[in-house]
């Protein structure tokens, strides 16, 4: 192969491809020889080495063919991508999936809302589907809450689950100790979480990026460890059970109660367990929509713009008179508050909580929802939350491979859309109205 290439200087593509595949196969051979080709085990106290050269041959062949396939793909993909990208260019420089969705966000949002609101009564909706949808909505709400901190204020928070835990435990403790209802505890839980947000925010004000991420990660672990080890307070690893269920204006979702009326008695319908599931679904739907409304609104207010300015350039923000301390703390506190709301919903939904539900992986999932969705994009969070909850659910049959597939999906998204599914940022205020803003004004300048 080598002597064919050297004199001509211009190798034919076939030779180049074969050489590349051959080289890869050689590397694979070198690696696989000790790993696959030789297998040592003990037999009767003595070390025996067994050779498995047929396996080795298969492995090398797979690598060789795989490399050839990859090269083929590499040639095919740019052409494909060009074909896909070409019509997209026409829409203006900011076009793309994100701006396409942004353009139709009103009808899309209305349609999605109508679907989500009617979902529990559709023919396919059974208990399992409504349960999964509720789970998606919890993550949507958490994603929207974390979006305040990460997407808008640009503060990388790896310990968001701590606020989720604070919300859950505030409600669980208040509910079981003082017999308070879910609705009475919800604002208290939110306030508690916001206070923890301030508590975390204050020492990390000067930190940015990686350093901030590490400290917030530690904070999340501290909260979990305290909840695990302070048995007298939180019940430790045993958690808290018997957490009150939510009621609809005092109507409970039980078969019968000692006093007062239950939901099914009041409405004169048969008792069914699914009523409570549907009710929980609507509760989290309303909570999530409130979060969304709040975030959409605050983005267009001075404090929201100050968050974004701080994310873009802290030095310039300070030079314009923005107080970085208050601005960052408000982002931490408000983000934490929504985490707290979601936490108390989680507690009332499952009726039992333990520190196991608040591990680092939860923080990582919520953060990946925000990042995959496209930092700061509200619709992106919905798509990402749906994907992150649903993909493992759908792949449940594949048992141990589902996390592998999940990881693959994330890697692929990051390769093809490194700035998230919907990376388009819509200005919070337009001078020239919608027409000027949609495509970026189309180079109207003189």
């Amino acid at each position: 192969m080598a002597d064919g290439a050297a004199p001509a200087r211009k190798t034919s593509p076939a030779v180049a491809i074969l050489r590349e595949a051959g080289l890869t196969a050689a590397v694979a051979f070198a690696l696989a020889l000790p790993l696959i080709g030789l297998r040592g085990f003990t037999r009767g106290g003595a070390m025996v080495v067994e050779t498995r050269f047929e396996w080795l041959a298969i492995a090398v062949a797979v690598v060789f063919v795989g490399r050839l396939a990859l090269i083929g793909l590499r040639h095919a993909i740019p052409r494909l991508r060009r074909a896909v990208a070409a019509p997209r260019r026409v829409g203006g420089h900011a076009a793309g999936l994100g701006s396409q969705i942004e353009r139709y966000r009103v009808p899309l949002g209305a349609a999605a809302l109508a679907f989500v609101a009617a979902m529990p009564f559709m023919p396919f909706a059974d208990r399992y589907i409504i349960d999964v949808a509720t789970l998606v909505l919890i993550y949507v709400m958490l994603g929207w809450g974390l979006n305040i901190v990460v997407g808008l204020a640009g503060l990388l928070d790896l310990g968001y689950v701590a606020f989720y835990a604070v919300g859950a435990y505030s409600f669980a403790l208040l509910g079981t100790t003082f017999d308070l209802s879910f609705w009475a505890c919800l604002p208290i839980a939110g306030a508690c979480a916001a206070m923890f947000g301030l508590l975390l925010g204050y020492p990390v004000l000067r930190l940015r990026g990686d350093y901030l991420a590490i400290v917030t990660l530690g904070f999340g672990e501290i909260v979990r460890l305290v909840l695990t080890n302070w048995v007298a307070f939180s019940g430790g690893p045993n958690g808290i059970s018997g957490i009150p269920r939510p009621t609809l204006f005092g109507l409970e979702f039980k078969k019968r109660v000692a006093e007062g009326q239950t939901f099914h008695e009041f409405f004169g319908i048969e008792h069914a367990g699914v009523h409570r599931i549907i009710f929980l679904y609507y509760v989290i739907l309303v909570l999530a929509l409130l979060t969304n409304l709040f975030v959409l609104r605050i983005r267009r207010l001075p404090i929201g713009r100050a968050w974004e300015a701080l994310r873009e350039d802290e030095v310039a923000s300070r030079a314009l008179g923005i107080n970085p301390v208050n601005t960052k703390l408000s982002a931490f506190a408000l983000g934490a508050m929504f985490g707290g709301f979601a936490g108390s919903f989680f507690a009332t939904r499952s009726g039992f909580i333990s520190p196991e539900s608040f591990t680092f992986i939860e923080s990582a999932i919520i953060l990946s929802i925000v990042v995959l969705g496209g930092m700061g994009s509200q619709i992106g969070v919905v798509l990402a939350a749906a994907a992150i909850v649903l993909v493992p659910e759908v792949l449940r049959e594949f048992a141990e491979y589902r996390m592998l597939a999940f990881g693959m999906a994330m890697v692929l998204i990051m390769i093809w859309r490194p700035r998230g599914l919907l990376a388009h940022r819509r200005p919070t205020i337009l001078l020239h109205g919608r027409a000027g803003g949609a495509g970026g004004g189309g180079q109207g300048g003189p």
């Binding site: 030079a319 923005i322 970026g440």
Partner: protein, 279 residues
Amino acid sequence: MSAPLLAVEHLTMRFGGLVAIDDLSFEAADKKITAIIGPNGAGKTTVFNCLTGFYKPTVGRLTLSNGATHYLERMEGFRIARAGVARTFQNIRLFPAMSVLENLIVAQHNELMDASFFSLAGLLGLERYRRAEAKAVELARFWLDRMGLIDVADRAAGELPYGDQRRLEIARAMCNKPALLCLDEPAAGLNPRESADLNVMLREIRDRHGIGLLLIEHDMNVVMEISDHIVVLDYGRKIADGAPEAVRNDPAVIRAYLGDDDDDDNDGAGADGAGARGP
């Protein structure tokens, strides 16, 4: 005699053993353009950073008198901005992902925060906030018009060409409604036409908006043409202070710019000036 807009007294800034600014005193008057010039590394930007609260001066007093008296050396950066000092940066610092208009609205953050009770009125959708925001947009529109950026108002600031970004940064500083505008090399990277436009604009800001300007600049055409007063720094020390005519003939200045030999360099505009005076 009333106090000057900005009085810098005995300003000294040390970084470890390095003395970046050594006992510097000067004044910047209201409705005048004061330029700080000097060779690279003379400490010009350090003066700005002390003025705008990014450094705490080792020694010295910085007094801003615009109705009230503010001792800037004691204040945090964002409070200095609120007291009435706005600045631009040598390497432009916009909010690149935000739109041009948003950049100008953010500059009016504090007024909007007050008008909206820390955003609460806005959250509730009160009329009070909407009026304040409309006013902020009007001011932004004025400056966009003035800077010729009105057509790109809804584009992301980071997408603009370099010259537009420079002007946007000045517009943003002006939307902060300063009493003293500090410009760190506003003409850097501009072509001669843009630089001439800049001169007109800075004069206009001085005359029409009645504020003081403090300018760091390398472009001697800009400095000599528009400055009312020039402060020359070399190695952190003031070597000359006065009107442009006086400064350009000052032997110490010529020496600092040209060295003791007659070796020329591209900062030799001081020599240009001296040459023009000669015959």
